[in-house]
Assembly symmetry: D2
Homo-oligomer: 341 residues x 4
């Protein structure tokens, strides 16, 4: 059975497992204070061209969003996000569970619009009753978005400028950041991300790691006693080495970028294949996730031979589905996939 269900169907890149094995019996201090974590941080700072970056490794995406957002908001503040943002819809209320509202903006192919953001902020501060409302205290964007789309540098700059004007941090959810940076259709680089965002995370779970996300605070703005906050959220890993070794490996010899590039190349190949087969795209995604509109019977037939993800119901006879490429995708599998269309 072919599998294009998601980008976390396999374990980890072999180099990561190899390093975990090699370092396995070293005695290392816990909670992220080992030298692999240090080395990984240094390499990430360098890749971000951000020597002052403060970095913390967490285990998963929802956890990271929860800890970062909760630690940076004051109790009376909420986070602004696209209606389709992961924090808005698919985290089981993890943000609200910490007491914060997700203030939603319309989505445009998964992205927020800077003018609509500006209007939301202006209208909040112009409202005579703003003291009875949740303060917009942070902006959340995902890049790539939940629909695989990307912000342009110009868009990022614009959103970042608005955030600075209103003195609220811009946070980027980079669960699939590598796949965004290595798209052929982007002008956004990792140093640009570090420049425009106040905090972001470099996703590992979906880009070749067993688990792990690297949170990067770019403006010497890591909240005081962040380790304690992480611990309080149940998110502090005893064997921090597990995350340190993985990110150290990913950021050695550009492995993170290389495997991300592989995924986007595979996605383009798959996209081209779908195009040739006359398939209908739900959205024009430049990254590793491709969204097709399938007729329901066709979908059911396909499901017998290949796994892919249900995305949303389009109408009574059509469904939006997702085919994901990843660091682990094999070209031959795509060829076999195309034979099914």
């Amino acid at each position: 059975m072919l599998s294009f269900e998601c980008d976390y169907s396999e374990g980890a890149h072999e180099k990561i497992l190899k390093r975990l094995l090699e370092t396995n019996m070293e005695h290392l201090p816990g909670y992220g204070s080992d030298n692999y974590c240090e080395s990984a941080k240094e390499k990430i700072r360098s890749a971000c061209n951000c020597p002052d970056a403060e970095i913390f490794f967490l285990t998963g995406g929802t956890q990271t969003n929860q800890v970062v957002i909760d630690s940076m908001l004051r109790p009376y503040e909420g986070v602004v996000a696209a209606r389709t943002g992961h924090v808005s819809v698919h985290e089981a209320g993890a943000i609200e569970a910490c007491g914060h509202k997700v203030l939603t903006l319309p989505q445009h192919q998964g992205k927020i619009d800077s003018l609509e953001l500006l209007a939301l902020l202006e209208s909040f501060w112009d409202d005579e009753n703003y003291e009875h409302m949740v303060f917009p205290g942070m902006v959340y964007i995902s890049h790539p978005t939940e629909y695989g789309t990307l912000y342009t540098e110009e868009e990022l700059k614009s959103i970042s400028g608005i955030c600075r004007k209103y003195q609220i941090p811009l946070y980027m959810d980079g669960a699939r950041l590598g796949y965004g940076l290595m798209s052929r259709h982007t002008d956004v680089t990792l140093p640009k991300v570090a420049e425009y965002c106040d905090v972001f995370y470099i996703g590992g779970t979906k880009v070749g790691a067993l688990c792990g996300e690297a949170v990067v605070f770019t403006k010497k703005n890591m909240p005081a006693h962040f380790l304690t906050i992480v611990k309080q959220h149940g998110a502090l890993m005893a064997k921090g080495r597990v995350l340190g070794v993985q990110f150290d490996t990913l950021f050695t010899d550009d492995l993170y970028f290389e495997i991300s590039k592989h995924a986007t190349t595979m996605a383009e190949y798959m996209k081209e294949g779908f195009r040739k087969k006359g398939q209908k795209f739900f959205i024009d995604s430049p990254t590793n996730q491709q969204f097709l509109i399938l007729e329901n019977n066709q979908m059911k037939e396909l499901q017998k031979k290949v796994s892919f993800s249900f995305w949303e119901k389009l109408d009574d006879s059509h469904t939006v589905v997702r085919f994901a490429a990843s660091w682990a995708t094999q070209k031959e599998d795509i060829d076999r996939l195309m034979e099914l269309f």
Copy 2:
């Protein structure tokens, strides 16, 4: 200066103050266990034609929404409300502060639509990823709504039926319930409210009390240890008599209905006045709040002579404003108001 700013500009109905004075030096037990609370509850049960109703008195509207919703939801559940619902917008995130998401539906003159509610519930349970999403665990409606509008009995029945099908409680925010029940344009009575809703509150603060809201659980469904939950929210009044005496007075000789009727009659008189003056209504409200569209300069002129509420910006030169009648409104003041148009 004339005042039509809101329905809580004055203190309490004189009969309430009189009773507070008369009973003032009686030694009474605390926390709502006094006999005035008991008597008030009995009268409310009777007015609701709901002999089994369990009743609890709280101090204010946001507090009531927070305590009721938090106590009736499981941690993984959120409350469904209109995008313009008080809990969605004007409670400073009080629901989220307790860990629960407000799941929004479109608003239609402040109301939710039963078909859209049904679609939300169906689509949640049909979603393959529903376990990663906030469960719709309760439905919140306000009656009258934030725009002064009212549900018909048919609409209530339909929403209630959907809630029962999905086994989630229907909660009515009755901050201005009296003004809704005493509208000339409603077929909804208090017993009907008790029949269709699983829990609702009868607002006192905006209907003649110094403070106080009576929460009514209609189906023997008051959460276990509700008093402790109230205490934990900081919402348990030591001198519960203050609420008991007020509600006992309001539900003696139909005072609550009488003063509500006065308010809606005054509102109709005001509405008729505006109509004659050719003013433009933002919405056709059958209750005590009237919403006008004012040209901005006209608005500024008026503000010098009468207080009213900013509601929302309509366009660059027009603003929606609210004129509220209440139990305390004087006919002569409306006559004087009309002279300003």
Copy 3:
């Protein structure tokens, strides 16, 4: 039936009700922005000899503790309190419900000891694992304590000095503050309280008001957007006038101090009576609450003729009970009480 159960058995002092009546039909803005609130604040500032004090009126004691503590702590911080402190035991977990641990110290007749406080703080910061523990972020004391006892100025000064050394605020729960200040056995004045504490509240509910507590931030340290935080906790009263008028009356012509003095004089009279009758005191209380040790059969006999409070079981045959005097206590009732012994 005689009543010495508590200090909130009656309504409000008659002057308060009179003022509520006199001002009842004035149109006033909501949420504490009326001029009675302003006037009350000014009088309190003056009584505290603290011209810069920032003041906010809330409804009840647990609510006040919850809002103040939650608004002044960072998420990783807890509040230090005596094991018998109200926040530790009798608020149904209201502090924990907001996410904060109550870190307990031993109690000495209801008070914390400054050396034990110092030891707790030193030991926290000396602990190699302090990052895995809840930070002591505030000190809570009640004055009078839950046992009616009082801190001396020297003790307050010492505790305050330790708090300042560790840069954490000192918060005094003054639910019965008047009864403490007007004890014959105290050298603590209201200006001293304002000097040593960073924040405290002047209790109204138990000292002659229907409800209401005045929170005083003494060092220009009211948390930003405090009104929104209050609203989010469901603690913002729509008719703020109810609190404003009450505190304005209490702080006009020293009414608050006068009625507090009456209560402590009555308590001394009662204490003297108990002494003459050979009753055994559980604690030597200098304020309005008196604690006796009663043999259980004697207690049951008494309960038929007078109401008082169960405090705690002492041993199998004895119980600690409380007799409370208040602003409303009549000398003749004490005389009648003594006839029962």
Copy 4:
């Protein structure tokens, strides 16, 4: 440099890494729905002799305590634990962060006493003011405790009986469960744990896994929608296989018990060595953690050559320290350690 600092200084047992490698490229569904998770659950059920057990894999100990306790308590309930329990002291307030108080009992070598537990429960329900207090809703014990000590079967049975009488669940924190079960000085087996506890977890992080704890609900009492609750806490691992493969390996051919046995044997060997060297024990621990009292200068000298853990200050010249054996401890390292004494 020798290392006896803790039982999580190394990576994972080699068999675990081997299995992770072997299964690495298999396409598996996410979030714990893969067949390795299923297989691991089945093996654990069998080892527990509890065919109905419901099992969920989480990542770390504090996370597990937080999710389990929060999911099983009602909002007005707290968890009873020893004053020295991990949840009481060393989880940065993770339980309170979810709104629940930790109600403490005295500790006796790290353990709670069943009679003191009974007294706490009786006294709560006998208290006339219990409605104003946090309800004891669950009992937390750690086994081994934070001091390495163990409950006897008799003690477990007694605590369990009390919990059942009061209808509250008994929860065992088994972060080091293997080391407890494989002690030479215990009559508690895994099936006994499953019999007496309502829920417990089998610790992996400290017993040979990279990370991972297996929560076992023994009475068909896993809270409804537990996966969503886990997700909401940011604790749901995308690649659940990482936990599944590890626990499947640990429970294949008794690996978990074998490596635990190794650790306790090493600890006994170390203990015997210390005894021969005339070292003073702080506590008589029958498991993998050994606590010594060191004179401060001796401690400083030792720290140059071996890493161990600061535990607590005993007096001005002595400190309690911990030496931990683990699945990875080498006999030769203990021999070298002894040469330092």
